[in-house]
Subunit: 355 residues, 2 copies
């Protein structure tokens, strides 16, 4: 597989909240040759966001970056309010004319836009709307027969790092001697990072566990010796809990890692209180106990916004309250955490498998 | 609203398993003027299935039934194997040419079939694919402000009577003095019975709770003084549990009625064991306790296949094991059950509503 040379489009948002751009730069298998954001043009990525450790230049337009020979344009953020501003449209059309692959995680499918579709037909560029799910079958139970252990990240809310934790665990597992640990992407940023996957939240509800199962089967087919599935939502999220449950049952998980931002008081914009460690462990394990019992084997904390001392105190509290390994694997590295949880990652049988 | 005069298409299956046809004949607000099934042509519905209490004639073709002046053709069963047999196609085209409304709950959308679509354009017939969901917003929490109490049926598996129980409870509530109790349909048969609704299992996963919420808001807008939501799937169904959870959170239920077929040993074709009364109550209540606490207030048993004595023994066992009202409301009537559960149907607040 040839690596893409990405040009990342993130106008006016790169330094602020371009989550997809940041994820792909930090964790992506592809190269990033430049970022398009007029508001920080002339600087490098590492000047603006040192933790991304990239020296790629930031430029003002797609046209300006073409001499760097990108092969693909990645839409690295969503436009405020949803509709594409005219300047974005021009940048995307310039990329299509230059025959760059267009990779978009926007809700609106770019390939359904007549102007983009027609321009791509003319130039021969392809448009990959990563949120558009393929047709998948109903969950069959085939995932129960996968030989590799299956780990799933779950959490106390959205946007707290379930994808990053999954990626860090895969890296740590490789460093610890696994030959082919695989990250399984279930949302648009994860898909862009890995270059494959299904946006499970965009699948018709009846088929969402089937989508999770197909992803696990694909990783198994690729010879994975550890499968780490990116979680979504939260089990008590009033709107997204069904997707969380689809991943829990559909991935046929053998074990869960619980990702928590301890500062969350309630679920996103809802009044629903965020749950504590013990309540989250009990609820996930009670649900899985009815289909394929699997334990929570560790707590991955997101201590962003806390000092080092505060972070270590919170990690200690999580360990004491749950009796499980705990750490912030993004902040302090995943090697120690992986070493602690690895003995707990074992294959488990579904219930009633001899019916 | 003018009542439809339905012609029900159920070739070769009417006497066997035409679940949609049976539901619409037994519970539907519209009239059924005839059934098309060559295998029992010449008899009446009550000759073949006495419990449906209908004297509508069974005929061999749509053409034969047109003198009865039907206004709509209801596809009352699904073709074996999925693809439409040629004889069905001819019957549907005859109905379209006669300008009957075509009402279909098939997975494949009839209005996407070029021949049907073109024929309907010519004759002016409309095609209503009831499984095709409308666009709905993400769950907002507006359902928490609905004044009428909201009841949801849940169960120990699919196809055990969650819809029938909801319909029987609505009838019993009306008989007991409620002025406007409303059934909320969430699947194709329920939609055909009520003439509105959303097939929640066909909604994109992220939007499924939002679909349930919109249905509840619609019932409230229509002035309901009791809202009874048709449940789907089962909370430990490996494939359909996400839809079950979407209805639990999205409907903002104040109370649940647990529908159980006590003879189920496992979930449909999966190895997953069916849960007992207590386990089902605990799991549903534990989930709802994290968002909007709501209790299970009664057990509605499906005792099909048991003798009267066996049925009464099972009902007694359910009462003893759970301490809740229990009955088979389809077999023995819902009046007594409703009287027992009515005091337990009270409005409840969401968690954290003063955040």
């Amino acid at each position: 597989m040839t690596r893409r040379r990405y040009l990342v489009l993130a106008p006016d948002r790169f330094a602020i909240d371009a989550k997809t751009a940041h994820g792909v730069i930090r964790y992506g298998a592809d190269d990033v040759v430049a970022v398009v954001d007029p508001s920080c043009a002339g600087r490098r990525v590492c000047d603006v966001l040192p933790h991304l450790r990239s020296e790629a230049p930031i430029v003002a337009s797609v046209a300006e970056a073409l001499p760097l020979k990108p092969t693909a344009l990645l839409i690295g953020t969503a436009p405020r309010g949803g509709a594409l501003p005219p300047s974005w449209r021009q940048d995307i059309l310039t990329a299509i004319a230059a025959r760059l692959e267009i990779v978009s995680g926007l809700h609106d499918m770019l390939d359904d836009d007549l102007e983009f579709h027609a321009a791509a037909m003319r130039s021969g560029a392809t448009i990959w709307d990563v949120r558009k799910p393929p047709d998948v079958p109903i969950f069959s139970g085939a995932a129960y027969d996968v030989a590799a252990p299956i780990l799933l990240t779950v959490g106390n809310d959205c946007a707290i790092g379930k994808m990053s934790v999954a990626l860090e665990i895969v890296d740590a597992a490789r460093d610890a001697g696994k030959t082919n640990p695989r990250f399984v992407p279930t949302g648009q940023t994860g898909i862009m990072i890995a270059g494959w996957g299904i946006s499970v939240d965009r699948v018709v509800a009846d088929f969402a566990p089937g989508a999770a199962e197909q992803l696990v089967l694909y990783a198994a087919h690729e010879g994975a010796d550890l499968i780490v599935v990116e979680g979504q939502g939260a089990i008590n999220h009033p709107a997204y809990a069904p997707v969380t449950l689809a991943l829990m049952f559909g991935s046929a998980a053998d074990a869960l890692v619980l990702v928590c931002d301890p500062r969350r008081r309630h679920i996103e914009e809802y009044a629903t209180p965020a749950l504590g460690y013990r309540a989250l462990i009990d609820l996930h394990e009670a649900l899985l106990a009815t289909v394929k019992p699997a334990p929570v084997i560790g707590i991955a904390l997101n201590t962003r916004g806390l000092s080092d001392d505060e972070a270590r105190a919170e990690i200690a509290r999580a360990k004491t309250e749950t009796g499980l390994p705990a750490d912030d694997v993004v902040r302090f590295g995943a090697a120690g955490f992986y070493k602690d949880v690895a003995p707990r990652i074992v294959k488990r049988p579904q219930l009633g498998s001899h019916v």
